[in-house]
Structures are given as C-alpha cells and as structure tokens.
Subunit: 388 residues, 2 copies
C-alpha cells in the first residue's frame, strides 16, 4: 500500500481531485484521478469496471448521485492507503482525451469580448447586437476536431477576402480564444428543457478550452450563418476535468444583468464562477482573464441551449466563449489584446500580433476551494505547425 504525499500548496489536493484518462507504457487508456503529483488508477483502486473505459462517458452517464458517491469514496481513498499498483507519478503517464465529445457548442458570454469583437469586425455598427443582453448567443462547433492538450495545431488554409476576389492560402491571422468548457454528464430528453436550477444535476465537470481561430478565414465566411472553417480545424481541451462538485467555493454572483432576463434564464443561486485564467505565449503570461466578469452563467447557457426542447447528451461540451475582462491585459484573444494586430504586445522582447509557426500557447486557471485551498485546472497547451 502507498500513502500519497500531497504537497500543502498543491493545486490538485483533496479539494480538487480532477478526472482524466491516462495510460502507462503497454497498457490501455483508462480513467484516473489526480492527487498531488500522482495519478490514481480508479479501476485498480476501486475495482469498478466503469473506470476501465477509455473515456469518462460511461461513468458520467451514471448520473449525479453516483458522481457524489464516488467523490466521497475518493476522498477516503486518497486520504488513506492506496494499493501501490494503482498509483503512478503524473510524469510517468500519457494523458488522452478525457471524454468523447457528443455535440460541441460555443457561447459568446463575455460582454467585454463581444463588444471588442463587434468593434473590430463591424466598426460602423453598434458593437453589441440587439439580442446580446437578452440571451446567451451561441452556435454549434465541430465535435470531431476537439483534441486533447498537447496536440500540435497545423496552421489552417482557406479563403480570405481579397482586393477584387477572395484569395486562398494559409491563415495570416491565427489566434486563440481562452475559454472555459462545461461537460454534460447526464442526458436530458428530447422535448424536455433543463431548468436553470438543474445545472449541477446535468453538468459533470469543467475543462480549459482553447478555441483556435483563423480571423481572416472567419471574417470572410461568417455572414450570414456564423463561423465555420475559421474555427473547425481544431479546438483544444485540458486533460483534467475538474468536477463541478469541487467548485462550490468558487461560486459567485454574475455581474448585474440589465435588462432582467426572461424567467427561464433567472437563477435562484447564480453559477458565476471565480476562476482566474492565465494565458502564456511562449512561456510568458500575456493575459489574466477573470471568469467572474462573464455576463452569462453556464447554468443560463444550458437552460438556453435546451429551452427549445433540444436534448443534451453525455459528452456534450459547451464552452463559454472567450473570457475577457475590462482591462487590456485581461483579454483572452490576441485579436483583442493587439487590437486587430495594430497594437503589438511584447513577448520575450519581440513585438507580436498573431501566432507564428512554432509558437506555443498554454492556458490554465485556478479557483478558490474550501477553507482557503486553491484548486487548479491543469493546462491546455498547443504548438503551431506550419501549414501543409
């Protein structure tokens, strides 16, 4: 048996216990939980085959009561003696996609981001559309190109606006979007909206998201049906899924919503979240977006997404949209941070606007846990490879 040593200041202590899918050399991917700098093999430690799966989906599908039960088991397990064969150093494992993505939806829930993008994409109009403060604007993205942290990102090619006719070539305005993603665990049926108060019954956990964006492709294609190829080449997520159950201490009120939202969007106990993001560009932190500034809460997003009767499924991923705060160094996309490329930021001594080949971007976050603890989200990282 082994007693797992968790450093006092670990972001992966008992307050967190995020889930992921890992393998060791010569073994199949399976579910693990992170404790300090260790990964606990849950099938080996708990003897439950649902954790032998190569994704979290079967466990998530068991529903909220089961998530609570297993979390209690894990708190006991990790605080005591764990079978040695079930414990691996985090540096010795390979991490994989934590879950199979069913549908992927991307929202647009930061007023600062939506206003900035409105000014940049439509300089002659009001930055916010008339609907923006009445509903969480969102759209479907490509589930099949959601990839785990560490996957290289090939620079996309596509059409962009030209002088007289569009031209084809590699994207020259490759960007990031620092977002927070919510993973649906338990199905809701067709025809049955999810109440804004049932968010925690349905959503299993939270990941970091980098919604890579080719701004030149996007700007040309996006009218009237929305972003498509400017986004669909890749969306990266973190390896670790932080249980929603670990985020009670991080709950805060959303910013004042004025006008008052329609009744189906009114929360009794708001699901604003005090997550502090950090965006690193080639190792240098260039932005610290505050999630607590987001106008719409994730519970409002899920209620809106299903209010028309749409079902949701185990593995659905919905992301917040770019997290941007009011200050310039709180902006979660480079197009905002550099104001469309006109105001370069200095990265390791060089003026930079959009992504160059070889650049690496890493996004992470921390949140308050109970009793002064801090919990971490791991990171979502990706490096740009040249266009093919």
């Amino acid at each position: 048996m082994t007693r797992i040593a968790i450093p006092e200041d670990s972001l992966f202590g008992l307050a967190n216990l995020p889930y992921g899918v890992f393998s060791t050399p010569g073994t199949a991917p399976r579910v693990g939980v992170r404790a300090g700098d260790s990964v606990v093999d849950l099938a080996a430690a708990l003897g439950d085959d649902v954790f032998s799966a190569s994704s979290l989906n079967p466990f998530m599908a068991q529903g909220h009561a089961r998530w609570v039960e297993v979390r209690e088991q894990l708190l006991d397990l990790v605080a005591g003696d764990v079978p040695s064969a079930a414990v691996h150093p985090v540096d010795a494992v390979t991490m994989h996609m934590p879950f199979e993505v069913a549908d992927y939806v991307d929202f647009y829930a930061s007023e600062h981001h939506a206003s900035n993008l409105g000014r940049l994409f439509r300089p002659d109009s009001e930055p916010l559309m008339p609907n923006w403060k009445h509903l969480p604007v969102g759209y479907h993205g490509r589930a099949g190109t959601v990839v785990p942290s560490g996957t290289d990102i090939v620079r996309p090619s596509g059409q962009r606006k030209g002088e007289t006719a569009p031209t084809f070539g590699e994207s020259r305005r490759l960007d990031i979007e620092a977002e927070v993603g919510f993973v649906v665990g338990a199905d809701s049926p067709l025809g049955g909206p999810v109440s804004v108060d049932d968010f925690s019954e349905r959503v299993f956990g939270v990941v970091m998201v980098n919604d890579w964006s080719a701004r030149d492709i996007q700007a040309w294609e996006y009218v009237p049906l929305g972003p498509f190829l400017g986004k669909s080449f890749a969306t990266s997520i973190s390896h670790w899924v932080v249980p929603l159950l670990a985020l009670e201490a991080a709950r805060v009120a959303t910013p004042m919503q004025d006008p008052e939202p329609l009744p189906y969007l009114q929360e009794k106990n708001p699901w604003g979240l005090d997550l502090s993001l950090a965006v690193s560009w080639n190792g240098q932190v260039v932005s610290r977006p505050p999630y607590r500034e987001m106008y719409w809460s994730p519970a409002q997003m899920l209620a809106h997404m299903t209010v028309n009767g749409a079902s949701s499924r185990t593995g659905d991923l919905f992301a917040s949209g770019t997290v941007s705060g009011p200050a310039k160094d709180q902006r979660g996309a480079f197009i905002e941070l550099t104001w469309g490329g006109k105001e370069p930021v200095t990265v390791n001594g060089e003026p930079r606007t959009f992504l160059a080949d070889g650049d690496e971007v890493s996004i992470t976050a921390t949140a308050p846990g109970p009793a002064g603890a801090r919990i971490g989200f791991g990171e979502v990282t990706g490096r740009i490879l040249p266009a093919r």
Copy 2:
C-alpha cells in the same frame, strides 16, 4: 429459399438497393437492404457480423472498396434465391436511425433559396452576401437531435423579437426545409483536406432531410453567430440510405458557376445530381424542388468543409440546405413558398402559411437509374405535436 418479387416499376429495384436499420418484433435492430417491398436481413443472408450492428457505421467504416464488393454481392443475392428467414415484408418491420450521426453540417447551396431568404430576412440589403458565390456557405448543426423519419416533432418554444423587448413563447412560424443529406462513410484525417475528386471515396450514401426551422426564433437569435435554437430542436432524416454507387446515372453538371471557383473547388467530373424532390403537406404535394438547380455540388461542400484541415468521420452528415428551384412551386421551405406568410398556399382547400399542430410533412425524391430505371429515396416524414 425465397425469390424476391420486385415489381417492374419499383423505386427499390436492383438499381437502388438502399441500406437501413430494421427490427422485427422481439429482435434487435440490425442492417437490412430494401429490395422491392422486402427487407433483406444482411447478417442472416451474408453471414457477416458487421451487419448485426444497430447502425451502418461499422460497415461504412470499412471503406469504399468494401462498399463496392458488398453491392456486387447484393446484386447477385437479390437476383437469386435468398434464405427465407432473411426476408421480411417492409410493412412488417420497424425502421430505426440508419446511422449514428457524428458531426452534422448544414449548407446553403441553392442560389434561389439563399436569394429568397436574403430578401425576407434582410429586405434592405443585397440578398446574396459577397462570399456566397465564392464558397459553399455552411454551419454546424446539432447532431444529437437528428431523428429518424416518423418521429413526432414537438413545437419548440423560445425567444422572439417583441415591440420593446423580446417575448417568450411557442414558435408561431414553424417551417420545414427540404434538403438532401450526404453521409460520410470513410474517415479523413486531421490536417488532410479531401480533394473535390475524392468525394465518392468518402461518401457512402444519400438521405432525405427535413431541417425543421422556427423562423421567429431564428430571426431574433441568428446575428452574429448564425442559427442555433431556431434549428436545433429537431432534424429528420429518411430511414433508407441510397448508396452513392446507385447514383451514377443521376449525375449532371452543376449550373454555370460564375465567377470561376478557386482551384480547390473545381470538379473534373461534376457531382450535380438530378434528384426530383416532392414536398407533401397533409398529403398534398405543394412543391417539387429540383436538386439539379443547386449551385454547389456535394463534392464541393466536402472539399470546402475539410480544406482547413478539419477531419471528417464515419457518420458525419452534411446537408445541402433547402432545395429551391426558380419557380414558386419549386421552393423547399414554406417561408419562401408563402413569401414570409404573406401569400398563403391552399392545402386541402384551406389557406395555409406556417405549420399548425397536427400537420404532417413528408419529403421524398426520385432519381434516374441505369437503363431507364427510376430509384427512390423513401420518405422523411414528421407530424407536429403541440408545444409542451
């Protein structure tokens, strides 16, 4: 053994042989092929377990060479004696979803439809956006709410524009979109675009699609990120997947494309298709949209969808967008057919605009087969239930 009698004028003769997933009382869903008014149980007839699956996905994933091989086997099988236990009357089976939908993309490839919708949604602007003739405009839809023909459609509720503020309620402008859907059989990798000439290597077959649309919800929500809840409550597809291999005789040139598309969209041998659709409203045919009028071919759609390096997967469904021809009685959506509700059509003696509770819509199509044969697509049908 049984000899299957196929009526001379059957739309499901040897020229067609569409695939579906069926069950008989007390048995599990499995793959069948339709021949005349019979369904042949392929696992029973061919002794191959890939057809015991409850979806076409495992068979489709085997790739193009295998699709050709099985089609040849089926032509021999159906023309000769079939084990009696493998043959079921089509009226005695229950049909299911034919495949698991991976990602769902909806295009907007009819110039007539895009122009009509532009006039109706943006009366003060040019009907076609500047990008429309340069690329097949499309967006991602909700894969989890694609349902098989015969599924009842619950009228969706949602926000719509009001006098001073939006109001919430059931959709008052519930509509259809008559479309043709293409089912990806064989994966293409991340970073590897599918050439416009490799369409038939990747796409397994074709279905009828009804992309139900709540126009009041859509009109309020769709700026700037595209349609979302106005579409995501349900998309219906036909039970039968017509193999692309059956459609060689239906191939035609697309309409003249001017300006000339960029090289990645130029087809050597065009994949325009001479499909004749028919839309029935409570049993009365109200429109006959001609697919041969579509500006962009499905091969161009697939090449565009992957030109940024996006992968495609077994089970991806991409639909054409509403099929509308130049004549009024060739329009594939009721918003066009009734010009925004201002010009009712007469259905069974009554003036009608949008869908009422209890209405049933059925869409079908035929196409030329070899040697003067005609082939059919079955139908996609749905009935509107009152809002919950």
